[in-house]
């Protein structure tokens, strides 16, 4: 079983819809939770960065973390065709090095239909 599980999709929704993406994880040491967006043949670009449980909002994007359920979500409101990309969840704990590798989900491929 992978440490981070993410439905690979593909997911297609009409423009203007609310998109819900999520990941589950098994490692209780994870404390930092991120969502990255990756366009085709590009590197991942950070969208949201959250520490521990709770909600964080930035424009049309809302990230939620529920550590008790080991479940994180990303919501996209008023989705636009430019939001079409692969969305990767990523998580990190704290090691003796003061930082640790990011552990990623497989990514969900999202298409917004005009």
């Amino acid at each position: 079983q992978k440490e981070v599980e993410q439905d690979p999709g593909p997911l297609s929704v009409p423009e203007g819809a609310i998109v819900s993406l999520n990941c589950t994880y098994s490692n209780s040491a994870f404390q930092y939770f991120m969502w990255y967006r990756q366009y085709s043949r590009k590197g991942p670009e950070l969208l949201m960065y959250t520490y521990s449980s709770g909600n964080k909002e930035d424009g049309r994007f809302t990230a939620q973390v529920d550590k008790s359920s080991k479940y994180i979500s990303l919501f996209i409101r008023d989705s636009q065709p430019s939001d079409s990309a692969t969305y990767l969840c990523a998580m990190m704990g704290i090691s003796n090095f003061g930082n640790e590798k990011l552990t990623f989900g497989t990514g969900t491929r999202l298409t917004i239909i005009p």
Binding site: V4, M34, K42, G43, L46, F97, N99, F104, T106, G107
Partner: protein, 113 residues
Amino acid sequence: GAGVSQTPSNKVTEKGKYVELRCDPISGHTALYWYRQSLGQGPEFLIYFQGTGAADDSGLPNDRFFAVRPEGSVSTLKIQRTERGDSAVYLCASSQDPTDTQYFGPGTRLTVL
């Protein structure tokens, strides 16, 4: 300011050959990471540098893979005796300090024929 840059953007090589992939991190970032992304998968950690030293190399798959960062800035990932299974996108990321955001480069797409 400039982001993380990686060269070459694409590399095609033959099985058994040696390759070097270069990463230029964001200026002033002390932490540097290498990841590998196979088709349809998320990036997988290879190695982490803090300054010039490799703080965590637990993700390197075998001794054919080696990375250096001699002056604490540019890093080179070296792969000896390449195999077809090494074909992937190799991503580099850097961060200002250990708890900060990791910023990714565009990656080097390696194809081993």
